[in-house]
Symmetry: C2
Subunit: 95 residues, 2 copies
């Protein structure tokens, strides 16, 4: 069973009230190092079998037609979820 | 200027009505290969300067306290956004 990750973010010129709310709340919790926050969406799409180039192409097409609104959002990532492992930091990894 | 990506997904045992809606809509658009969809959130946090281990640790702490609800969500990824480049597939890359 394979899994594809699709990630969608609001375009830079689009106002992002959720991100603004988060960046306003962070300093109140002691996180003063972050100057800007944007909030988007992450989808995990499961397929039977492996994640082939055809599956990735279908995920890209779905990302651009159903999972994002191309007027206000950009598809920033379409990837086999296995590719995440290297970049992931777990709580244990940081301890 | 550095950027940290934080990704949050609903826990597997939590019902995800947005994902259910997407998985119901995909076959109507001709995408029949996807058997399950989950929808979560992607945050991009900007910092002045580089993404140091201290910045990643702060992002992890913010992810667990403000950006996710630990009762119903898991923090699945905290990473320097540069790490995304390798796994990203653009439309051009698939053409």
């Amino acid at each position: 069973m394979g899994r594809v990750v699709v990630e969608v973010m609001p375009k830079p010129e689009i106002l992002d009230p959720q991100g603004k709310a988060v960046v306003g709340a962070l300093p109140r919790l002691g996180f003063t190092q972050f100057t800007s926050v944007r909030q988007g969406k992450r989808f995990e799409l499961e397929v039977e079998g492996d994640v082939t180039p055809e599956v990735l192409a279908a995920a890209q097409a779905a990302a651009e037609t159903l999972l994002s609104n191309p007027i206000i959002e950009d598809v920033v990532r379409v990837a086999d979820v296995e590719a995440d492992a290297a970049g992931t930091i777990t709580s244990a990894g940081l301890a």
